[in-house]
Amino acid sequence: MIELRNVTKRFGDERAVNDFSLTVEDGEFCVLVGTSGCGKSTTLRMINRLIEHSDGQILIDRQQIRSFNPQALRRRIGYAIQSTGLFPHWSVARNIGTVPRLLKWDKPRIEARVRELMELLGLDHDNFAERMPSQLSGGQAQRVGVARALAADPDTLLMDEPFGALDPITRVNLQEELLRLQSRLKKTIVFVTHDMDEALKLADRIVVMDAGRIVQQGTPSDLLSAPANAFVESLLGGADRGLKQAGLIRVSSRMRTDLPAPQAVDPATVAADDTLRVALSLMLWHRCDTLTVVDRSNTPVGQLSLRDLLHSGSS
């Protein structure tokens, strides 16, 4: 658990972070969003003491971070940053093993851990272990960056725009991957991004920041249904809000299963674990107001009509 209590960071007379309070529960994926210069990176770096806070308290697992030696603190917190910061003179395996080496694990244990992490991140050990960072694509390098952050199995993970420099497709892939990892590992994650779509996709809780303060915090659907002010609304994309909200709701939560099974010839089908946004797009595409909902094996399991989509299900 990470707690920030009335934290302020001053650079000279300027307050980069101003009276900031936030509690991130164990296993929670918390995303700080805001425009550049809003203090979100500064907040993140105060947690592992790359920047020292001026006032207030920061606690990890109920202990003041100032009570730790900064190096020891950082070794128990995973850290991943934009453009990876991989050590260019070290192989992939050696990069991933950085923190375990600093913690003086013995060699076989480090090797086994590196192997395990590469498998977890979908990097073929034989193919990639001895490559140098310059021989990796952006997406591969970022996977190595995430593996390195996870190496010593920290409970807490800080991620500073880790996917910021990637092309949209690789970016979406890695977001999916991170969600998959998080559902297994249940780390406490603080993630910084300026991309609200990324935040909506990943977060359990979104914290919107502006000028060093919290403007609004809540679950993605909290934010979408009740943005606190015009700034949050503009971050949420204004008129696209409806679509973004639909992107958070699964078809399975709105479909009807009490109707007779539809004829199998209907070409307009949607998967039960797709979102309402996809369903709406399919309706527009097929020019119809009812879709057949299918499961993973393509067997019809229900129906979704435009009415169901618009009104939260009464059935």
């Binding site: 592992n48 790359l50 900064p70 190096q71 020891a72 603190l73 950082r74 070794r75 850290y79 940053i81 934009q82 453009s83 990876t84 910061g85 991989l86 050590f87 260019p88 003179h89 950085t98 923190v99 600093l102 390195r148 800080l158």
Partner: protein, 249 residues
């Protein structure tokens, strides 16, 4: 297995260049005293055409010792000062050190010799001082460029992973700057192999001895002998550095 064999022969090929120059240098040292007939042609009017006050081998070794000692001091001082001024604590001194080092370069070595003789007397010591000052700039300049050229995100990652300042320096900064620093040391040493000859004007024993003696007696053969050995020595040392710098690619 095949890969290993080719790697061995590869490294043997690279080592061949410095070894070749060393062989040429050795042959020159052995051959010069025997080449009276050849040198007679460049200095037909001189009584003696082979420099004999000291053995050539002795001069080469003295020359190397002087350059080696000066370079060692210049490397320790230059790299050390550059590291210090790139730490947060020493940052205020960065412009000063950069400036001092370039002043060392603009000051002609002859002037350093002339100025330091009254303080240090004749012989090796003032020469050493001049060589150290003269050799500092390339080392300081390259070390600064090498350390400051490291991607800041790499350093941030290193600290964020929990490396101590010392670990960041030894495991990340110095290895990443090594090639550039080595290039600076190479320039410094090569320049000083040539510059050291001037030490002979104030009584240091170097390969400049035959050259100075040749100039004052109008004996071109002596000058040629000193020049040949200095050139070969510079080529040999430079090829050693060339080989060394490959290790960092």
């Amino acid at each position: 297995m095949r890969l290993q064999v080719s790697r061995v022969s590869n490294s043997a090929r690279h080592a061949a260049v410095p070894l070749g120059w060393l062989l040429v240098l050795g042959l020159a040292i052995a051959w010069l005293p025997e080449a009276e007939a050849w040198f007679r042609q460049v200095a037909p009017n001189s009584r003696s055409v082979i420099y004999q006050r000291d053995g050539f081998l002795d001069l080469v070794l003295q020359h190397l010792r002087l350059v080696g000692a000066a370079s060692l001091v210049a490397v320790v001082v230059g790299v050390g000062a550059s590291i210090l001024v790139t730490r947060p604590l020493g940052q205020d001194f960065l412009p000063l050190v950069a400036q001092l080092a370039s002043m060392g370069q603009t000051f002609p070595p002859v002037a350093v010799l002339a100025l330091s003789v009254p303080m240090l007397g004749f012989g090796t010591q003032p020469t050493l001082l001049a060589l150290v000052l003269y050799g500092l700039l390339p080392i300081v300049r390259n070390t600064l460029v090498g350390l400051q050229g490291i991607d800041p995100t790499v350093l941030e990652a290193a600290r964020g992973m929990g490396m101590s300042n010392r670990q960041v320096l030894w495991q990340v900064e110095l290895p990443l700057a090594a090639r550039v620093i080595l290039a600076g040391i190479r320039t410094s040493v090569t320049i000083n192999i040539a510059t050291a000859a001037i030490g002979s004007t104030i009584g240091a024993k170097t390969l400049g001895d035959p050259i100075i003696a040749g100039i004052s007696n109008g004996n071109n053969a002596y000058i040629l002998q000193g020049a040949i050995l200095i050139a070969l020595l510079a080529l040999f040392i430079d090829s050693l550095f060339e080989r060394l710098s490959r290790l960092f690619q």
